[in-house]
Symmetry: C2
Subunit: 142 residues, 2 copies
Amino acid sequence: MNLLNRSTDYAVRSLIFMANDPDQVTSTAEVEKALMLPRPFLRRIFQALEKAGYLTSIKGHRGGFAMARRPDEIRLFDLMVLFQGEVSFGDCLFRKKICSCVKTCPLRREIKRMESGVLVRLKKLTLQNLLRDSAGKRGTGA
Amino acid sequence: MNLLNRSTDYAVRSLIFMANDPDQVTSTAEVEKALMLPRPFLRRIFQALEKAGYLTSIKGHRGGFAMARRPDEIRLFDLMVLFQGEVSFGDCLFRKKICSCVKTCPLRREIKRMESGVLVRLKKLTLQNLLRDSAGKRGTGA
DNA sequence: CTTGAATGATACCATTAAGGTATCATTTGT
DNA sequence: ACAAATGATACCTTAATGGTATCATTCAAG
């Protein structure tokens, strides 16, 4: 199982990388090289980040992307929503409909309880928190 | 996202159902009828539960399955392992190999922290806990 | 004023896993 | 003997994920 999918994961890694030089313009090519992530995929991710307001894009020769928000304004939770949709552990599995017993289902109740614990943490966790630890210069980033 | 997949989910529902009459032999046909779950799929699930020691099977006409363990000995966590494999939030996504930075990756560290919170709960949670709440007779089970 | 390096927008593709079905053999109560 | 059950296993279908490709546009630099 994975809490994050690739898009989210790559987005976080890239943002950490870029946040080490917040004013610099970074091209997908650079990120590809530095983090060894596939460029076309990165492009799609960055475009999404741009649309969502995390990055600004600079077009043309020597273009690229630059941070549009401070790292403490970027929450992991929001990135997950962006790339994975609703974050939830307990989508009812009962034949795709909500089963009649949602309200009382003890199993779901427990699952939801665990979910909310994780959600609290995810919503608190910002890029800044991750940066603090990954300390320092542009290297492997993570 | 879902913490449980269908197999686990159906397994839990079925076990709850069966545990309401622990000594009775229950056929997949009955469970299909009562819980409206697809019989061939249930069969596969029950066979797995039997192999893993949760159920005993009675072959032949009027056969079926019976509980082989007490509900307080059946942990959700173990069912998940059985039907979903290792329970983990943070399988490294970095191109399928463990990336060089596993040890220090701040992202992974956080993910693992959340994971362990959930694992603690999952390992504590038994069928008995779920039964207590679902209270009573064989009905919709949940 | 052309060239090449970059993004914008989008369509396409391939693989895998999940969910589910089908089949044939065997067992066993009636 | 028959019907109703499991044992074992192979097969199928679909959707999501991860990733690629393409064409148009922008723009700095020579």
